[in-house]
Amino acid sequence: MEMQTQLLSGNFELSIKNVNNKIVGDEAMQNKYNLENLVISKPEELIFGTAPHPVECGHGLVIGGGQVYPEINFTLPSMTIEEKTWKEVRKQYTTIIEEVCQRAVTLESSGIVVEFELLPPMTINPEWGAEITQILRNTLDDFYEKEGLRSALRVTPVDVRDSERPPRMRSGKFWEKTYQSFEKCAEAGADMLSIESTGGKEVHDEALVHGDLAGLIFALGSLGVRDMGFLWSNIVEISARHDVIPAGDTACGFANTAMVLAEKKMIPRVLAAVDRVASVARTLQGHLEGALGPTKDCAYEGPYIKALTGVPISMEGRTSACAHLSTIGNVAGACCDMWSNESVQNVRLLSANAPVVSLEQLIYDCRLYNTAIAEGKNYSNNYRRLLIESDIHRDPQAYVLDPEVVIKISQKLINCDTPLAMTFKAVKETINIIEKAYQDKELELNKGDVRWLGLLKNQLGNIPKDESSLLERIQSSPLGDKFLPQEYGI
């Protein structure tokens, strides 16, 4: 923990909150994150279904306790959300949750996790989000009682602080609404709280499309970490009051934006891969504040978080193609504890509504994971190898998710002095490892990616490493007026 204090002071809380949580096992939280050692230090122990610090939630689901559970997400079809459509909105969610639970029963799923990701108007009007939470809660309870379906509900308010430019992170209406949304959803029956938080994104977006490495590092390692500290100390506090699990965050607005842009050939894949690992210190900060996992499904930095902290992680891959295309559809599952579809609109497909279709696919995926676990080491290792081998040689973004690589890089991330130093380390090691893999013909890269590997190395050599010089450089660049330093405690 001590590592943090050097850089981040003031409103940045470093001790882990003593949450009245349902964590399994009785180790003192303090010991878990000393970050002097990896919690998982052998690649072969970074596996699916089992996490050193499992989390119990909902109707007795133990995440990371030896099974992989499906995490189903869904959203509205094309429609507006307002007073006059609200009845229809309620109806949509009512239908979705009933159909989804019914299918889980038919396919005899041993349990499901439902994620409700609020849409912006539901956070701006916190009662709305709470109302839907309540609907989902009731149906899940009904199915537990009548059909014995075990389940847990993750609720994810929107980070509406991102609604102004430059955004206010610690003050103003939007922060208040975000806070209230957590509070009300927790009251209304969430089992876990999450968010896709956006602190630093206003700088990151701009830096990304300019391929500006200094901007990316600053956005993630300084602004991002600072905001995660502020935000998650609050979420942990709310969670403790309502006896719910503060689960985890994701670098979605950062590294997934990069991934999607790389998919559209807008930025090089190597940049997206570097950005992914650069997001680790940022997402980690939530756990230093007391987030217990499972991490958010779309946090592909999850394997790093699992190695560093031992919390269970949710991941998504081929079955989330409905929400974003990717080149990491299989390897993403190598060490997941939940397996998600990310999101799908409630539209009718030939067989059923899309959320039901997604759930069915997730359940079959989980059957494979869980049968492999049940059949023993030989099977689970073999299956895991297929997941890994089938992806990692084709794309650097897949390569950095190989558990071997995760552990190798994570080894370098411990014992860093500050989160910013950790972020620099992540960038450097990732560039090196990708370069080596390319040279060893372990990894294919196309011409543009090779060119960019050089450009990135070049850039990295010219970025000041201490926070104040970096800040100075950013403030004197066009990125300078994108953010408000005081909103990050700077």
Binding site: S78, I81, Q345, G448
Partner: protein, 225 residues
């Protein structure tokens, strides 16, 4: 002309001036600003510098991007380098309408904060010779109307990334028409389809920043030479 070819190449490579570190392999060589200055000294016609050198270079950049050779950051750098050159020419160019192709009002609609796609489209339009008035994100229908009424000939471009904000495009278009404005309107963003665009009576739609410049020229009836 060798010089103009050199200028074009500097735009393509995104090399702004002799001191610029980017791209590493052109460090120390003259950049866009240097070459524009040189061309001015040699009395090359302004039109040639502009159309053959600067815009000509950007066109190639656009092609390289479309073919997958270039990424957005490279396009950004070239655009910036080109702008540097443009700044030198501007005071010299007579302020004729012919010189700016036209005006585009861009914005992401009410309730929606996604702006990467919108910015990209804006950049392409600027690169293609348009003046872009960027209203930012979460733009209320009233705001579009207000700005459009000041620029009756401008093209309006709207972006929406959420299925829950798509409908605000319809609302915006209706309000624009109710105010008797007949600006041409184009729309885009991941969830938008051509069908939807037709349904809400937009004049154009594209899911591809590459073709937006041509679309804008067509709609504003600008000679597509």
């Amino acid at each position: 002309m060798r010089l103009i070819e050199e200028l074009k190449k500097a735009v393509i490579k995104g090399h702004a001036n002799v001191d610029a570190a980017y791209p590493p392999d052109m460090k120390g060589q003259p950049g866009v600003i240097d070459l524009v200055n040189k061309a001015l000294e040699e009395n090359v016609e302004l039109k040639t510098i502009l159309n053959k050198g600067l815009i000509g270079g950007m066109n190639i950049v656009g092609e390289k991007f479309s073919s997958g050779e270039y990424f957005v950051p490279e396009m950004m750098i070239s655009a910036k380098a080109m702008k540097g050159g443009l700044n030198l020419l501007e005071p010299l160019l007579v302020k004729e309408p012919s010189q700016k192709l036209g005006t585009v009002i861009m914005g992401t609609v009410k309730g929606d904060m996604h702006d990467i796609g919108k910015n990209l489209v804006g950049m392409m339009l600027e690169g293609g010779g348009f003046e872009v008035i960027d209203l930012g994100v979460d733009v209320l229908p009233e705001k579009f109307v207000k700005v459009a009424s000041k620029h009756p000939d401008a093209l309006i471009g709207m972006s929406a990334l959420l299925t829950t904000t798509m409908e605000n495009m319809r609302e915006t278009i209706e309000l624009i028409r109710e105010n008797s404005l007949d600006n041409k309107i184009i729309v885009g963003g991941a969830p938008i389809t051509e069908k939807f665009a037709n349904e809400i009576n937009a004049d154009g739609y594209s899911n591809n920043a590459g073709i937006v410049v041509d679309m804008a020229k067509n709609l504003l009836k600008i000679d597509n030479k």
